[in-house]
């Protein structure tokens, strides 16, 4: 680095005002109402009477620089050089009224999916998986692609009783924050870590490693300058592996996917709630994870048929009861569904009032 420039630090992100479309800058904080025009288009109207059109498309999140340049090109042509990403990884353009249809036509022609607005399925919040992480129990992008290839019509055209937020996290760390999603696709390990005797003494601090296990499943093995795993205590959380690379959990047969349902974060109508276990395990079956795709699709379809308008998945399940959810979906109820973690008692049915099915 010959001509090293002066080192700049701690400048933070650029202020957003640099990037706002003029109509937004002008009407900032003055928006009065919005109208959803179609699944990919909405209009916001300001107190000044100004209108803002938004057109949204799906992205794969993992994109090339050329993809970003392609987006920039649409922005330049139809949106005054402005664009944004949503909190669920969709791209939004802000065409003038007369540019809305030309933009949509161009996007569709290039194979982009216009949609994601209102009651349907928006993009899948997800994580790194086999693309970049050391702890995954499944891939992220591949599963999302397989699931959304099957469900993309809920993004572009089909509606549902309410929003259905699908998220995926490739391990229990839950970087996708799946724990409050209508449908959570969660990678899980099912086998305890295997101790790598060859490396552990060098790679890991034994006391920290032992302390990292929430269930006390790691015992010292001083003779070998290593540790022993009390396998029956392990809940495959991976916390030890985060602390000590010599305790990998990944296993082609043990790893796979579990499905949790009924979570949400919005406070509309009812408080945020966590997703609950629906399907304890489905195998990793790349490249298309057919079991996972079918399971998600099936749950969406049962929900679409049975839920009332505006009822999020969790609201629907609470109204009909979990016994009926299992009945309607045909998903078997197993030991795994019954909580046995620290706060399990709160999940026990402490009343004889329930439905027979």
């Amino acid at each position: 680095m010959a001509d090293k420039p002066k080192r700049i630090t701690d400048i933070g992100a650029p202020h957003f005002s640099k990037f706002l479309p003029p109509v937004i800058a002008k009407n900032y904080g003055k928006w009065k109402y919005h109208e959803v025009i179609d699944k990919g288009t909405m209009k916001h109207v300001s107190e000044t009477g100004d209108e803002l059109y938004t057109v949204r498309i799906a992205t794969p999140r993992l994109v090339s620089t050329d993809y970003v340049r392609e987006m920039c090109a649409y922005a330049d042509k139809f949106s005054g050089g402005h664009l944004r990403w949503t909190t669920r990884h969709n791209v939004e353009f802000f065409p003038a009224k007369d540019q809305v249809e030309p933009l949509k036509t161009a996007l569709k022609k290039d194979g982009h999916l216009v949609g994601g607005i209102g009651y349907g399925i928006s993009n899948v919040v997800h994580t790194q998986g086999w693309i970049h992480c050391h702890t995954p129990a499944t891939d992220a992008s591949g599963v999302v692609k397989a699931v959304m290839d099957e469900l993309h019509e809920y993004f572009t055209t089909k509606t549902l009783p309410a929003r259905v937020r699908i998220a995926l996290a490739c391990c229990l760390n839950m970087c996708g924050a799946v724990h409050c999603s209508d449908i959570a696709i969660l990678g899980i390990h099912r086998k305890p870590p295997k101790v790598n005797e060859a490396t552990i003494a060098n790679q890991c601090e034994i006391p920290t490693t032992i302390a990292s296990c929430p269930t006390g499943a790691i015992a010292p093995n001083p003779a070998a300058k290593s540790v022993k795993i009390k396998e029956e205590r392990c809940m495959y959380c991976g916390n030890c592996y985060t602390m000590c690379p010599s305790l990998p959990l990944a296993d082609a047969h043990g790893d796979g996917i579990s499905i949790y349902v009924g979570g949400k974060v919005s406070n509309a109508r009812g408080v945020p709630r966590m997703s609950k276990l629906a399907i304890p395990f489905l195998p990793n079956n790349p490249p298309r994870w057919p079991e996972v795709v079918q399971a998600v699709k099936h749950i969406v379809e049962v929900y679409a048929k049975d839920a009332r308008k505006h009822e999020r998945m969790g609201e629907w399940i609470e109204r009909i009861g979990w016994e009926r959810f299992f009945k309607l979906t045909g998903i078997p109820f197993t030991y795994q569904h019954i909580d046995d973690f620290t706060f399990a008692r709160d999940t026990f049915r402490m009343t004889p009032t329930f439905k027979w099915e």
Binding site: C72, K145, H253
Partner: protein, 392 residues
Amino acid sequence: MSKDGKTPMLDDLEKGAWPSFVKEIKKAAVKSNTAKDLLNILERSYRDKVTHWKHGGIVGVLGYGGGVIGRYCDLPEEYPGVAHFHTVRINQPAGNYYTSNALRELMDIWDKYGSGLTNMHGSTGDLVLLGTQTDKLEAIFAETTAKGWDLGGSGSCLRTPSCCVGNSRCEFSNIDSMEICDTLTHKFQDELHRPAFPYKFKIKVSGCANDCTAAIARADMSIIGTWRDDIRIDQAEVKNCSKDMDIKTEVCDMCPTHCMSWDGSTLKINNKDCTRCMHCINRMPKALRPGKEKGATIMLGGKAPIVTGALMSWVIVPFMKLEKPFDNIEDLIRKLWEWWDEHGKNRERIGELVDRMGMRSMLESTGLPPVPQMVKAPRSNPYVFWSPEDVK
């Protein structure tokens, strides 16, 4: 890599209607060996059904403790292109608005030093540049900062704050979520770049209870806009809405506090009972608007399950006016950090610390008064602690 460099499994994922990440990797692979070997090692993972990434070592740029995630593959001889495959987290602008020019500048830098692949965005909010080598980090840093960008957080520090579109486009917004996000980001540059906390700390700002940043689930500090006075009603527009919608069934009956009634001509709201859940306003944005006395509910503790179970943020201040320069919220956050620094164990999130020590210690040290809005219900167990002063 299959011996012949073929990736049949991944190729299958080029098909289908949903945008394909495989196509994207292939696009990048045209220019970048790193991207090419990413494709190959990913195909290998698809066959082996396990990851081929090793634990990352500590890599970064001078004077920063975070912002770069080190990553190495476990088969560097076979896949030399991804022997190193670090990611660089660029702090996104509040609200994720960009101009095409700004983005192109960033992309050019990335084509020069990285794999040509990126996540728009990471799940915390950063613009994530995926796949580079240790020796390129300083150059990337120099060139991006020169263009006005800085790194985001990683490690035991403040993570990159994020927010919803708020005032910029949303009529529901009760606070200037983007300005708050930007301001806090700049106030806390040191905490963002130099890990000194017991563990990570995330801030997310949503303009209303719809919580479009999922702050309650995902942020240690969730700032949620709300209002104190009455919902503004435009009765004429309510009537208009009633043409397309069954207001009683779809709105009144679904109001969680049952504080609304509709007699076919007038919508009544008992605002004293309303909890500002947003449902009615969501259904009739032309007819209903939040009140005018706006501010935020401050909530603490949200996080993923590692290792004591997931937490959602809970109320610690029912209502706080949030206006420039936002010193009140800065002040509160600093007090919370002080308390957390003093008592938190290594890798203990602030929510877990409250859970372990009880809310009292946190409230006393931040000077927040106990109020019923902090709890769903008071305790049911009788295991009350009394300090000697309480017992006089």
